[in-house]
Symmetry: C2
Subunit: 334 residues, 2 copies
């Protein structure tokens, strides 16, 4: 298996991307990589490590897409960027999966415009997995699609189920439709119709409408339009950071507090581990013609290792093929 | 000033409602109350306390609206419920504000159908205040309105500003429009138009689009449609409870952990205090012809005391009158 890794995406590129790639290469020997980006800089980083050279290839792609660039324009203009070159290699079957920590918008735009959607899929969705009481919960969509028609949401339900069953090995993942109440008739016009459509999908273990709080407990897949999904995701992230910032300040405020925190260290470590969204890898982009993973912009080497494991699982489980075989054929009024 | 309190709303009614009312009566002497509900039961509860009898009136309303009843049907059928009778007393100027811990849907339906909207307001909004790094943030709307037109959102921005300035005493409250990114052109069709409309409001200190994570820091008022607002609110609530449940378990797992937690007690108390949504009172229902506060269904006596303070502040600050004077006259295509 060959993974294509964008060495120039994210805040810590190329240093941490290269470091993580080397760690992953050392950890398992069932894959090789193509790194895309400025060849000289990648070689410079690689030179610091001992690693299996025969499993690493570099494809020079000198242009870099910044986090603040307009996605579609950037994709069109910067044909030699690490992100575009990487996805074109994937399209050309030079590799089996693509991982990038770069601009979400640019990864999405490139996947739509260059790599292409799976036939029958209306809209690809960005689907991060968040920590919860069980094995994690997928929030699909988290920001790729603003105005979602009910049929899009039904397809998200199918794609999310496939991923959680095959990659996280959850049997019959519980799928909920994000809504303002759990009664069947709740919500807006779009969710009422989406409820009906998702219910028709044999592949989906649909538990019905789910509230925001059900993310942590009752569902394995939460289906939402990208607008509400993104707001929920970031509200939780922000609230979590806020809680941790209060704790950090309080727990270091005096000698007594520091001693208390020292005693609680194992519990605090466990708390951090349980809330670590990076444990699940990056956000898969589901519905496109290949395995594409958007890892966090702030990823460190350790996060790249997890994303590599995730990519290999996605390829081995043939997520793209399974989606192709199971995607409901639907029509939608545009 | 006279407050009307629904003694039979919420999980702990009438016991905690009556207890809280008595606590509030003892704490300040600038108001009197009308309690609505089953007179005999309220008298039975009151009999346990010493309190200023001349400041308490009971209006018998033997029917109770359950949390699971269909709101509109319940309002129509149960004319003698504590909730309907209370709001009708408010409409009839028998009191200055109405507080209930009962069914949100029923409180909303009754306010719309019986109490009435302020002329010119398209939709009343439910607007809880959440803890954040500053003085709290209002999330308007949090679930009263599913499909919101841009003009509704612009009115929410105005009403939210007025409340946060007058009740929480935040000068020029920063208003953000909930969105998937902070750039001006982000979002769906409704937010793009809402952005333009809110920008036109002189009364509003509009900081532009805001992301979910900005709730904890960058805004004092977050404007959202009730669908996304409710999902955000509950996602945060659920995530917060999840974090606390992990901590509780970890911090009591062994003698060492218990000792650590004991040392950290002041910091943990401070954390809890900073994250206490009840500190701000209940959620005001803004845009209706009177001061209506929906307090949490699980409210204890202490929460009633805060809601009483909040109601008095809202009346003294003439929130309803100020909204009337400042509400932008708009047209909307229904």
């Amino acid at each position: 298996m060959k993974l294509i890794i964008d060495a120039f995406g994210g805040d810590n590129a190329p240093r941490e991307i290269v470091r993580g790639t080397v760690m992953a290469l050392r950890a398992r020997d069932d894959f090789s990589v193509i790194l895309t980006g400025r060849k000289d800089r990648i070689e410079q980083e690689l030179a610091q490590y001992t690693y299996p050279r025969d499993r690493v290839e570099i494809v020079d792609a000198p242009e870099i897409i910044g986090m603040e660039e307009h996605p579609v324009e950037a994709i069109r203009k910067k044909k030699n960027s690490s992100l575009v070159v990487g996805q074109l290699l994937l399209k050309d079957k030079q590799g089996d999966a693509f991982i990038s920590c770069g601009s979400t918008g640019a990864i999405l735009a490139c996947a739509q415009l260059r790599l292409g959607r799976i036939k029958g899929i209306f809209r690809p969705a960005l689907a991060p997995i968040l920590p919860n009481r069980h094995k994690g919960v997928m929030l699909i969509d988290s920001g790729a699609n603003m105005d979602c028609k009910p049929a899009y949401l039904a397809q998200f339900a199918v794609m999310g189920s496939i991923y959680m069953e095959k990659v996280l090995e959850i049997a019959r993942p519980r799928v909920g439709l994000a809504n303002v109440g759990t009664e069947d008739t709740k919500g807006n016009e779009a969710t009422k119709e989406a409820f009906r459509l998702i219910k028709e999908q044999d592949l989906v273990n649909f538990i019905g409408n789910a509230e925001g709080r059900d993310l942590v407990d009752k569902v394995d897949v939460m289906v939402a339009d990208g607008f509400a999904g993104n707001l929920m995701l970031k509200a939780m992230e922000g609230f979590g950071s806020y809680i941790f910032s209060i704790m950090k300040k309080g727990f270091t405020a005096s000698l007594r507090m520091k001693l208390g925190a020292l005693l609680l260290k194992p519990a605090l470590k466990d708390l951090k581990r349980k809330l670590d969204a990076n444990a699940y890898g990056g956000a898969p982009l589901l519905g496109v013609e290949g395995v594409v993973i958007k890892a966090h912009g702030s990823s460190k080497g350790e996060n790249i290792v997890v994303a590599v494991d995730q990519a290999i699982k996605m390829v081995n489980a043939d997520i793209v093929g399974t989606i192709k075989q199971n995607i409901p054929v639907m029509t939608v009024q545009e």
